[in-house]
Structures are given as C-alpha cells and as structure tokens.
Subunit: 146 residues, 2 copies
DNA sequence: TTTAGTATTGCAACTTTATTGCATTTCTTT
DNA sequence: AAAGAAATGCAATAAAGTTGCAATACTAAA
C-alpha cells in the first residue's frame, strides 16, 4: 500500500485522460507489494466491475509506454507489472520462485549495480535494467523441509 | 564459435545419452555469439535435418534441467537459450534491443554484481541471477539517425 | 442543448509460443 | 533376436497477448 503516490496526478502529468479503469489499474499496481500479471489485475478489477480483459491489456500497454509502470519478465511466459522507478518507488531487483511462481520485490540496496561506466561505453542507448534473482522462496523451502 | 567446449563430453558428464539431436542443438547454442530462441534453433537445425519442433523444445528443457544451458527472458514473450555459466562461459548480462529484438551478450565485467551478501541474507535459495539491459542497439540507433 | 469529432471499451477472431498425450521408431542391453 | 527403455513425431491443446472493427462514452464547438 503506497501512501505517497497521487495516482490521478500521475496520469494527469502524463497527459492521459483520467478514466476509472486507468486509475483503478494504476492503484492496483501501485498498492500491491509485488508486481502483478495482467490476469491478476484483470481478476482483481473484475471482482467489482465489469471490464474486458483486452481493455486491461491496452491500459497496461499505455501505462508502460508512458513510463508510469514497468513490464517485468518472470521466469515464466507472463509479464508482470509494477510501478516504474520514481520518487516514491526506487528501482530494485526481483526474486522469482521457480517452485511456486511468486515474485517478490527485493530491497533496492540488495544488489547495487554500477551502471555509469556501461552507460558511457555502450554504443547504443540504455533505457532500463532488469535484475531477476531466481531460486526457491522461503515458503517453498519451509514446505519442502517438512 | 567456442573452441574450448567438448559438447559430447558435456552431455556425457550430465549422464545424457549422446544423440545427434542433443549434440547438434548444444553445438548450435554453444557456437552462437548470442542466445537463440527455440524457433531459431529449430530453423537452423531444419536446414540440414528433418526434425520436429517438439523434439527441439524437449531437448532444450532437458538441457536446462541439467544445468547445461540457461533459459533467458527477452523483453518479448520468447525464451532464449545460451550456455549456462561454466569454465569457458562466464556469467554475463545481456542487452535487449526494444527496436529490433536483438539480444547481445555483454562483457562479463560490464556490470559486476556483488551476490555474496544477498546469498547470505536471503531466506530462500538463490540459484541464478539474470541481468537484462534494455534499450536501443547500436545498429538501430544508426538507422534512426539517417 | 445539440452535434460532430475523438477517445475508450467490448467482442470475436487470431497469433505466437510452448506443452501434452499418445503412438511410433530407435536404441541399448541382455 | 527379443524385451525394455529412451527418443521422436504428430495432432491436439493451452496460455498469454494482439488485432480489427463495431459500439459506446466523453469532450468541446456551434
Ligand atoms: Mn518491485
Ligand atoms: Mn550470453
Ligand atoms: Zn515459492
Ligand atoms: Zn536493434
């Protein structure tokens, strides 16, 4: 649950009309403690409101294009969406559990990475870095030991 | 082109029967300068030999399970396969071009990361870290400037 | 307020990538 | 040579996301 983000203002700042769907989706993503799949977002939204899954995909694409949210890869074939790094959400690596599929946000300091030298030497343009740690999460480890 | 790997020996060491398909696929992956998609591997193989694409997927799964190759995520929905880190192939980050979809291997030293402290403090098991840098590659940049 | 234009959404069909079940073939070992 | 195990092929299926187009909702001018 993020106390600091004014989601309506974020949409406005990106020159996007403020629609209920956009705001809801952004809130769902921003208030969740780990990145969500399109299906998870759709299911959450569907509990209260009738919405088409294509609309969800389209809004997600739009928010990604505007740099408001990030599209992250899991170890599976589904994308997950989380807030793009901003004042309230520092960039951070993620952990993907191969066993249960859960994705968790790691501490921003967990794996500090020095980008500056690469940014200077790389002959193209670097826009984003994604760090994903794979393995077995605490919960699955506990279960497997019982 | 990797001069150092004895692919037959790698398969043998993993207790896998040496089949033509396994060896060919491992050679294709090991000798390529960047990770390949299942389709690219299948197409390469198909040029010389009649093979079913399901067989390709199954061999890729097997080699991943044995830790011989790695399954990498691109910025798209396709997995790519490259040699797992070993004596001849140090772990390294990859660059994904959002424009042309190309994936290139970055220098192992390009983004050195300190894993030890996370490995010690993380309550689960860490098996693998994937670092993907996204942006626009040199070629696409050049084209867009013309 | 009407109306025209634009933006958003819904729906059905489609695409891509990968997986599954089961039959067939090939290999290994005795 | 025969039996059993391993590998492969083929057709069907699944999952996730995309596309085209029609319908609805919103916005702003007349
Ligand atoms: Mn996160
Ligand atoms: Mn590589
Ligand atoms: Zn888990
Ligand atoms: Zn490119």
């Amino acid at each position: 649950m993020c106390q600091h983000c004014d989601y309506a203002q974020i949409l406005e700042a990106a020159n996007l009309n403020l629609t209920t769907n956009r705001l809801k989706i952004l809130e769902i993503i921003g208030n969740n403690r780990s990145p969500l799949s399109a299906k998870e977002i759709y299911d959450t939204l569907s509990r209260n409101k009738d919405i088409n899954r294509v609309t969800v995909y389209r809004i997600l694409d739009l928010l990604v294009k505007k740099g408001i949210i990030n599209r992250l890869t899991s170890g599976e074939r589904t994308f997950h969406y989380g807030m793009a790094p901003n004042k309230n959400h520092p960039a951070h690596p993620h952990f993907y559990c191969k066993h249960c599929g859960a994705i968790e946000c790691l501490n921003p300091e967990a794996l500090h990475i020095e980008m500056e030298s690469l940014k200077k030497t790389y002959p193209g343009v670097i826009e984003n870095v994604e760090i994903r740690v794979d393995g077995i999460c605490k919960n699955c480890l506990k279960k497997s030991r019982q």
